[in-house]
């Protein structure tokens, strides 16, 4: 379909507006993070005095002193573990839902959706009490479990759609070739569903990485506090200074892993991986 020049121009303008709208806050945060404490409130878009002081302050003092390093480690570990467990469990569940005929299949899917729709705020209170009683309060599992309940439905939904795309004959061919159902799944289905798995992985990771509500409610110390929650506890150099600069710097730093994650996995999301499986 050929676009006329006019159409192209209009599209470019629209894309530019959306880009500006979404990029300006990010650029502003970067700009603030590069300003010196004295010029943080000068309201200019570009920093008048460049300084990396805010970044340095995040990491000075090592794990024990820095308010940022331990939460960053927590964030990376919790989000990664959540993603891993979520994808493994979701791929089994989604495979069963996509492939097997069993009663209650729709119910599981509907149930998963219902859980995903549940407002997290309504579960935080009970979880707080339960976790304290169970000794899960302020621990990694204490955050990973609620993250799983909300990310699993998402991952299952994404993966069911991907598994359904894979021709069933491939699996039958594998079975005839002597594969056990698990071998067929691991050697044929999983490699073909890899783009779906990475898509789901990105979504789950971002969900766990960005969460603030559970992180602030279910943690009390650096033992398991993640970056979004830790940012709220940042303090200025003295009680009279706002920690604006260091919060901005931390915000920039936590964005980096997400960007790396997306770029890394995006390369794996190769369209048309299944092309050639069947006649085409």
């Amino acid at each position: 379909m050929a676009h006329s020049g006019r159409e192209k121009t209009l599209w470019s303008i629209a894309i530019l507006i959306v880009l500006l709208f979404s990029m300006i806050p990010v650029l502003w945060i970067i700009s603030i993070s590069l300003k010196t404490p004295a010029t943080v409130t000068d309201q200019s878009f570009l920093p008048t005095e460049f300084s990396l002081e805010n970044y340095k302050s995040l990491f000075t003092g090592g794990i024990s002193e820095s308010p940022f390093i331990k939460p960053l480690i927590n964030s990376i570990l919790i989000a990664s573990i959540t993603t891993f467990i979520s994808i493994v469990l979701a791929s089994f569940a989604a495979y069963a839902i996509a492939r097997l005929e069993f009663t209650g299949r729709r119910l599981i899917l509907a149930g998963a959706l219902a859980i995903a729709m549940f407002p997290p705020i309504s579960t935080v209170g009970p979880l707080f009490d339960m976790w304290r009683a169970l000794g899960l309060y302020d621990t990694y599992p204490g955050l990973i479990i609620p993250y799983l309940t909300f990310s699993l439905p998402l991952a299952i939904y994404t993966l069911v759609a991907f598994f359904r795309e894979i021709p069933w004959e491939l699996e039958q061919a594998a079975q005839i070739d002597g594969a056990t159902p698990f071998q067929a799944f691991r050697k044929v289905i999983v490699p073909l569903a890899a783009p779906g798995m990475f898509t789901a992985a990105i979504l789950v990771f971002i969900f766990a990485w960005n969460d603030f509500l559970f992180a602030i409610s279910l943690t009390s110390s650096d033992a398991s506090r993640t970056v979004p929650a830790a940012l709220a506890f940042f303090t200025g150099d003295s009680q009279f200074t706002q920690p604006t600069g260091s919060i901005a710097a931390a915000a920039v730093v936590v964005t980096v892993p997400i960007i790396i994650f997306v770029l890394l996995f995006q390369r794996r999301i190769v369209a048309g991986l299944t092309a050639g499986a069947v006649k085409g």
């Binding site: 021709p167 004959e169 491939l170 039958q172 061919a173 594998a174 079975q175 005839i176 070739d177 002597g178 594969a179 056990t180 071998q183 050697k187 044929v188 490699p191 073909l192 048309g272 991986l273 299944t274 092309a275 050639g276 499986a277 069947v278 006649k279 085409g280």
Partner: protein
């Protein structure tokens, strides 16, 4: 290598639909058996049951004398070629072909050797390291075959393996499949809806319709001695002509000619035949241009108006109209399931004439037919009227 036996096998789905009804079939060791029938006749389901991809609801499925109803596909030692080939898109041709051996934990050196041999046979050597996506349809089909033959299995199961190829390649590949099978001597079950494929490939052909096995026999048996209207109409191209007819004494009254009964038919009908209504069947090849026939050899000639002539170069197809009781014929056709296949006007007859014929469209021409080839069917139920011996 081994025989495959279906012993009163039935496949019933959860909703009560019977895809295969009480099917008994014996496929001998090394035999090339074709399952043929229109779509939805249960032939693919039957194949899937042999493969173990579908459960058998009732009856016994035996491979090599052993009941395999509860044996997983992977333990049946069979290879299958799928209609859409089902090649693993993330593996190279080499890996595709070696996958089964790798799962069987065969030594890598042996795998390589077997794969290369198979590739040589199938002319795939220079494509071994390519991915299926980069191959042509014919090459993919050969990879699918290669994947089957490297394993040296007890049986090959093929589910319409040629239907995705274009017409010319299909004929060529058909010959290759046939040669390969006779060279390997592996028991093969081949499913197709194309009766030409069935007739040219198979040692024996099993015709199915609506889940029921209609007839099993060599291609010649099916062609010359069909058991019912369905088989008669399904086998042969162009299809057999059917027309309403009446038995009267020693002859059959066809709409366009009176044909004397052959001795065989007389025997089949018995002495007390009266004025019986039947469906008469004549293959297009049983007609000829009367001017090209020496009438002293016998046969029946009749005049008819030719509606249309199709020239194939080596032969002519002449279409003419039989002024018969359409309702009887169409009802019998519908009863036997033929209407799904043929459709159109039941009074349209086709005659295959020698290319030397000078008959042209619109002529009133004299055609000849061979009375010995005439077959008769019971209008009720569509069974062929034949002597039981």
């Amino acid at each position: 290598m081994s025989e495959i036996v279906l012993d009163h096998v039935t496949k019933r789905y959860g909703d009560g639909f019977e895809a295969v009804k009480d099917m008994s079939l014996e496929i001998k060791d090394g035999e090339f058996m074709i399952l043929v029938g229109p779509s939805g006749c249960g032939k693919s389901t039957a194949l899937q049951m042999i493969a173990g991809l579908e459960d058998v609801t009732e009856g016994d499925m035996k491979i090599g004398g052993e009941v395999v109803n509860n044996v997983a596909p992977k333990d049946r030692d069979i290879a299958m070629i799928f209609q859409n080939y089902a090649l693993y898109p993330h593996m190279s041709v080499r890996e595709n072909m070696g996958f089964a051996l790798k799962l069987a934990k065969v030594d890598q050196k042996e795998i390589d050797e077997k794969v290369e041999n198979a590739a040589k046979t199938l002319d795939l050597t220079e494509h071994l390291d390519r991915r299926p996506a980069n191959l042509s349809g014919g090459q993919r089909q050969r990879v699918a075959m290669g994947r089957a033959i490297v394993r040296d299995p007890q049986a090959f199961l093929m589910d319409e393996p040629l239907s995705n190829l274009d017409a010319k390649l299909r004929v060529q590949t058909r010959t290759e499949v046939s040669k390969l099978q006779s060279r390997l001597g592996t028991t093969t079950v081949y499913v197709t809806h194309d009766q030409t494929e069935a007739m040219t490939l198979g040692d024996r052909v099993a015709v199915m319709r609506a889940g029921e096995l209609q007839q099993v026999g060599t291609p010649a048996e099916l062609y010359n001695e069909p058991v019912n209207l369905f088989v008669a109409g399904f086998i042969g191209s162009p299809a057999m002509n059917f027309t309403a007819a009446t038995i009267s004494g020693d002859s059959v009254k066809l709409p366009f000619a009176d044909v004397p009964l052959s001795d065989e038919l007389k025997k089949a009908l018995g002495d007390d035949r009266g004025d019986r209504n039947v469906i008469a069947g004549l293959r297009p090849g049983d007609f000829e241009d009367a001017s090209l026939i020496d009438e002293s050899d016998g046969g029946v000639s009749f005049d008819t108006e030719i509606d249309l002539i199709e020239s194939m170069g080596s032969e002519l197809f002449a279409y003419f109209t039989a002024d018969h009781d359409k309702e009887t014929v169409e009802k019998a056709a519908a009863d036997s399931g033929l209407d799904e296949l043929t459709g159109g006007d039941s009074s349209q007859m086709v005659a295959r004439l020698d290319a030397a014929s000078e008959i042209s469209r619109g002529d009133t021409a004299k055609l000849w037919l061979d009375p010995d080839k005439l077959v008769l069917f019971d209008p009720e139920g569509g069974k062929r009227i034949a002597a039981t011996d």
